[in-house]
Symmetry: none
Subunit: 230 residues, 4 copies
């Protein structure tokens, strides 16, 4: 009748325990947790939040279903962890780039390429984000990493824009958030709308050739928008 909220073991909480035995146990626990998370990502990505089945996630892992609740408290908690991880991993786009080493125009193309590739290599990410939007962003607010990421992206892009503008290569009026949105939109759509667009226009949107071609097209679109003399 009274529904109490139970505390769930926090990530890394077990690190306080010392000694070899405890460490071994903790390692196994981390393994279980990571394993669950990986399978959950797949399931949520494939079916969406409501379509995903806790039972099916459990079936895929070697530990029992009960562990899901032990570690994540609820289906929603598990989904939240998946979302968090997605938004953490996507940051590798930003960290893998070293735009300063390239000339502005080349750096811009590089940015597009990496972003495009990330989306294509991680359709799970795209689908989880789609799902979160279907759910009207119900859980995105709980993802802690997003604030930092926004700052990182904006400052990175602003720096690039400034560099390009100061050398007369870029227009000066490009807003970094607008630029990010444009790149994201063009890269995201190619994965997110793969099935409907592919059907309507009879295109295999995952064929290597199609991907390579589209990658160039997106880079061109962005470049011509940003560069004064394309």
């Amino acid at each position: 009748m009274l529904k109490t909220v139970k505390s769930v073991p926090a990530i890394g909480a077990r690190s306080r325990s010392a000694g070899r035995a405890a460490t071994r146990q903790a390692a196994r626990a981390d393994g279980s947790r990571a394993n669950i998370l990986a399978m959950a990502t797949r399931e949520f990505s494939e079916k969406g939040f409501t379509g995903a089945r806790v039972d099916e996630i459990a079936e895929r892992i070697d530990t029992s279903k009960r562990m899901i609740y032990y570690y994540f408290g609820s289906k929603e908690g598990l989904y939240r962890a998946v979302l968090e991880q997605c938004y953490t991993q996507v940051r590798q786009i930003d960290t893998s780039l070293d735009l300063d080493r390239l000339a502005p125009a080349a750096a811009l193309r590089q940015l597009v390429y990496v972003t495009f590739d990330y989306h294509n290599k991680h359709p799970d990410f795209v689908r989880i984000v789609m799902n979160e939007n279907i759910n009207k962003g119900a859980q995105i607010g709980t993802v802690s990493s997003i604030k930092t990421r926004a700052k990182v992206i904006i400052s990175m892009l602003q720096k690039l824009i400034n560099r390009g503008a100061s050398t007369g290569v870029f227009r000066a009026d490009i807003d970094p958030v607008d630029l990010h949105m444009a790149i994201s939109a063009l890269c995201f759509y190619n994965v997110s709308n793969r099935y409907t667009f592919g059907r309507v226009f009879q295109r295999n949107m995952t064929a290597p050739g199609a991907l390579a071609s589209r990658r160039e097209t997106v880079a061109n679109i962005i470049e011509r928008w940003c560069c004064i003399k394309p």
Copy 2:
């Protein structure tokens, strides 16, 4: 998730019954059918296919739940009808445009504007399409109107591109499907990723000012890509 296709009374099948009384009944029935469809669109759009509840659709309409099965056979059949209607209605983008009356560059901007506006005015359409992609396009194949639409769009865009290229305004190497995809992506994302993008970058993506600004930006991106001398 989406299973076998069951045979259901085809649309208009009941119109075979003749006489004034039957006509009156048919009218009421059509009203019911349309009503169910409207509410189902809302429900599927809000929750996705798996998240949508047949009970809740029934609760919103004045006729009983049984009617849903009478007209549409199953939840899946209802969803299919919703999808069909979405793809039928979106064709008004194409039919409302008369690109020939405008100069190529202006026509291109007009195309962007109308597409952008349609997406913003019909978030239901966007969300249904998202959902269909979450479901890996399980039902899009049953939508009959899509083939015609693809042809209409491609020929319309090709015509525009040719016109622009022949007068030296547009590049000649723009592919009509690429163009459509670019415009769609930029317009779609603004609605589809509203919640996550808005959260991450602290932007209210439905504010009139933000929409107007983004609308211009998208038009600029497309224009600068297509036009030789922007």
Copy 3:
């Protein structure tokens, strides 16, 4: 993610439907509902709220488990209906009495006898009330009949007390609620604490002789308390 409260068919709501067929259906529905209620009373009475199993209630009835939720919405709703029925049925103690026809002292004994007998014949009632107190009266507030019953009892007892006092048989300072509580306590305890008391004092508290004897004792206790000259 959003948990909506669904409306449950109200008791007697179906009485609006007219015609023979509908009536027959309604009758069957009432049968199902009453049947569920009867079995639920048993189960809740035997095991308490938390100990009761919805599955076991379902197993005892010929309709399926799903019907429990159809009619009562939840385990709690079902329990509430059981509680309501218990407090409705107990009113037959009051309605079956016609104290005015007897002399005050005889009426008082009659009141004790009837109350004592009711408790012994309806251990379910006693156990449900015990359980509700274990649950700290979580649902008793929703029982609508209790307010009326309180008034009926108090006025009945006050009338009796006045009659006895005016003829010099009863003390004048007896409070009707105190009187009711005393009678209830003595009758209730005999059933409620049957198992522990019986064990501790090695008494079979359900043996006919023990019951008859205790019945007299309780009547005596009450009589000697109320009457000036016993």
Copy 4:
């Protein structure tokens, strides 16, 4: 509900280990054991046997959940220990009284007062006993102290009754078990049925004034029943 009795380490079993260190450990263990018992009493008292959660008991104590099983073997074993303790502690009613020092009538009132007060100060006891009766006395048989207590009470009351009868103050036909039951019932009900009775008759049954008043009423009821000339 309550299943087979498992063998568990008897109370004090660990004290066999000798030496100072062991003693220290035993002391700590005793602390743990007592601590668990105290928290378990609370939990079982609040929720009943089935409603109580082993996890929640564990959360309240400083030692881990595993300790519960170490000391008590099972949830049922723990409950048994709680029950045992309750019936041990209630004996302080008997031991705290020295009825011989008072005149029979005064001694009787004193007995009522102490009993009444004990119930009000120990609602946990009342609730545990209620619960044991809900469970049909499944475990009361295992409580060893009850037999002794019954004898103590009966002899104490018989002695009092005899003393009062011999001086012509009490009736001679009062049975000691009947007397005990009457006092218990009147004291018990005031706590056990607090929530339902309070709701039905709109009485705050824990208000100091209400308690004091009821205390006198109960004493009066018992006195007038036992005394020849009240």
